[in-house]
Amino acid sequence: MAQPGRKTSPRLLALRRPLPSWVAHGIAIATCLALLILWEITVDLGWTNPIFLPAPSTIIATMWDMSVNGNLLPNTGVSIARVAVAFALSAIMAVPIGIAMSVYRPIGAGLEPVIDFIRYLPVPALVPLSIIWFGIGEETKIFLLWLGTFFQLVLMVAQDTDRVPHEYFEIASTLGAKPLEILRLVAIRAMLPSLVDNLRITLGWCWTYLIIAEIVASNSGLGFVIWTARRFMETSQVMAGVVMIGIIGLVTDQLLRRLHKKMFGYMHS
């Protein structure tokens, strides 16, 4: 019942009102389409110069052309492989080290200042050093991506481990679990949801650093494609490369989100 003398606020304006997923998807798609159409129209009407901003239809056509006749796909493959290797390396190192930093205080005390220092070094500033050390081969790219992600990730993992309630450790120990069993069966399981989230976020950063690395020190990969196209003022090819990165990002992010929901159903009630 509505209270007398007080207007009930319209349901649409109710805060945090749940939205059915088909409506949410519908709104998302409609927004994207609207933006694309708007963009297409501005170019078609000659409001912008296609040399600076090609129409979406041109970009799609260019992407198709570059895939069929050019080498967009192999270059995409190279970039994905670099990200995958560097990211895997980061994660494989960061997870155990981060956990160790949190649960064995001396390790944390020793590593934290070092990691904090390196973490604040901007990756581009280390490109020259990296080229001096590793030349311009694959090592440089992997190193730069690793550098940009490992030190961030290791601290996130340490923080995730810190946030596991101490009660879990204590309960497990009074149920007969030994320290390594507690880490394996309790700590990692308790932090896994936020670990997967942090991995997803870090994976996004990998792409940022990849493009930097490929622009300055590479003759393959999407960064190289974009940079070469720029030299010839092929704006639609530049855009095609950029859109490709966006698509890869979107797809992996969505996949990881789905995986998260599936794996951690016990959290979402």
Partner: protein, 258 residues
């Protein structure tokens, strides 16, 4: 000769320069006793209990279980906390079976049967496959109790385990805990601030003084209201009389400083 079951021998505890337990504290708890600790907030009840669990060490003195000094935590002494009591990523049944992972003396079928037995004991057989976020807070505490028993605990250390529950659930769990303790013949140390709960559950109550903790009163509850704790007992004159006398002691404890 009978050896004392659980014995606190001249225990003191300081955190930095905070005296939590002093003068030296001594207490003997016989086998199968339901012991309740009552006392002002911050007096050191949790600290004493954590020492029995091996989660804290005494500054001086020692605690002995059947004549042996206790050390690192193990499955003989199980903890039940008020919060974070069950693992959210495991189903109810997996939670109950958790402690048996570390027991190599049981076969797979024995472990299954044991898990079933304890699930039934706490009335959760129908929720075996549920995750903790799908069941009530009271059920989660049952899970914790069943898990501790299934792991093979002889002593249950329960720190305000029903503190977050509403009155009805609380009463229901009290009845069951008392029944389970007698059926399974376990020794329990139970901390609470609720005098009614203390009197209903306990064979014996220790009332502590303000920090630093020392024993203000040692009350033999069974001698006064008997062993059989039917719900009706709560309205009986003996129960009410004992409850009000304990309440007075607790109030006196609040004013007590050493």
């Amino acid at each position: 000769m009978t050896m004392p079951y659980l014995q606190f021998n001249d225990i003191t505890k300081t955190f930095g320069n905070l005296d939590v337990i002093s003068p030296p504290f001594s207490l003997t708890i016989p086998h199968h006793q339901f012991m309740v600790f009552l006392g002002p907030s911050g007096c050191g009840k949790t600290t004493l209990m954590r020492m029995v669990g091996g989660l804290e060490t005494a500054s001086t003195g020692m605690i002995a279980l059947q004549g042996e000094a206790i050390g690192e935590p193990d499955s003989r002494r199980g903890m039940v906390f008020q919060s974070y009591s069950s693992f959210p990523w495991l189903t109810v049944e997996e939670n109950v079976a958790f402690g048996m992972r570390f027991r190599h003396d049981l076969t797979k079928t024995e472990k299954r049967d044991r898990a079933q037995h304890y699930l039934e004991l706490v009335g959760l057989s129908n929720f075996a496959a549920s995750y903790p976020n799908r069941i009530s807070g009271g059920m989660r505490q049952r899970v914790a109790i069943a898990r501790t028993l299934a792991a093979g605990s002889e002593i249950l250390l329960m720190d305000e385990p029903f503190g977050a529950l509403d009155a009805q659930r609380r009463e229901q769990l009290q009845v069951e805990l008392r029944r389970i303790q007698k059926e399974e013949r376990k020794t329990i140390i139970f901390v609470t601030h609720d005098v009614e709960e203390a009197v209903y559950l306990a064979d014996r109550i220790i009332v502590f003084s303000q920090r630093p903790a020392s024993i203000l009163e040692d009350i033999d509850v069974t001698a006064q209201i008997g062993d059989d704790r039917l719900l009706e007992l709560r309205e009986s004159p003996e129960f009410l009389k004992l409850r009000s006398s304990v309440l007075h002691t607790v109030r006196a404890a609040l004013g007590s400083t050493q």
